[in-house]
């Protein structure tokens, strides 16, 4: 009798809704160590990402996935390109997998040119994750607390995103 192996692949393979063409390699951290201005991206350089997520707050994340994946069906003239969608999902899925209890559903919008903007707000804190359609432009995090903006973080990784979502949720 064979024993069924439940989902032997890492999370980003098994639950990959969008980015079948994106390898779960070290690309994220490689890019970060070269280009990111966030110190958290350096600290976690060698972190193992192939950890199956605990599905807390999964409804919120699934609702986000559903919304972003069906976004283009809402308006013919205001579309998210595949490039922007791919990297946005790649980053958010890994951020969610790292710390599901920090996850909050963002507001989804476009930048008018095929890029995607995700916005989280809690009280006076706001995080804007922007993924341009043009891959030559960096994706970035703009963060502010009250009237005070923090330095822009270019080419952020999922590690930085979950770190900031934890900050938004009041974990630190």
């Amino acid at each position: 009798m064979s024993t069924a192996v439940a989902n032997p692949m890492p999370y980003y393979y098994s639950a990959n809704v969008i980015s079948s063409d994106i390898e779960p390699s070290d690309l994220d951290t490689e890019i970060a160590t070269q280009t990111s201005s966030a110190s958290s991206d350096k600290w976690f350089e060698r972190r193992d990402w192939s950890v199956a997520p605990v599905m807390h707050d999964s409804d919120s994340f699934l609702a986000f996935l559903n919304e972003i994946l069906t976004f283009n069906s809402e308006d013919d003239e205001d579309q998210i390109t595949d490039n922007a969608l791919g990297i946005a999902l790649f980053t958010t899925k890994r951020a969610y997998a790292q710390r599901p209890n920090s996850w909050r559903r963002p507001r989804i919008a476009t930048d008018g040119g095929g890029g995607v903007r995700l916005t989280w707000r809690a009280g006076e804190k706001e995080i804007r994750a922007v993924f341009p359609a043009d891959m030559r432009r960096p994706h970035y995090l703009y963060i502010e607390e009250g009237d005070t903006p923090l330095p822009l973080i270019n080419n952020f990784t999922s590690i930085t995103l979950w770190d900031k979502l934890a900050w938004l949720a009041g974990f630190h």
Binding site: D75, T110, R117, P132
Partner: protein, 163 residues
Amino acid sequence: MSEAEAGTEDVQCTEIVYRALKRGWAPGESIPAEAFIRKVKRPDPDSEPRVEEAVSLSRQKYATARECRCKLRKMRGAASLHVGRVRGLPLHLDVHPDPDRNADGAVVGPDHCSLVNLPDPVNDTFSAEAAASQLIRVARFVTPEQEEQEHQARRPDSGAASD
């Protein structure tokens, strides 16, 4: 001296302008930053991104919030801005008359005006986001009730509410 066409006169500091929003008003919600960030257009995937020069607004003296919202498809709300407060921000922003014209050059949309001097979101991303935040702080959502009330008061013959 000939009389200036409606919509070509300078926008006064006392005027109110509207910005159409893709998101409708909901209690406790903030106005989205992208409402005040110049759009980055890309005609095709290989072309350089092109940043629009300004953000479009409607002058209250010529249009209601509902008319501003309904000029474009899929707009679910509007925000109001006091022009004097926009000019008072330490950003050198201004609101210029920019009426819509037909092929003959005649003004057909006197309400249209432009919010100018916003930072370039491609070359100065941080400033563009920060400027949007400052504008959000001086803007106000027009609630559905306010929109209806204004429209009924100024356009009493327009009939029932519509989207």
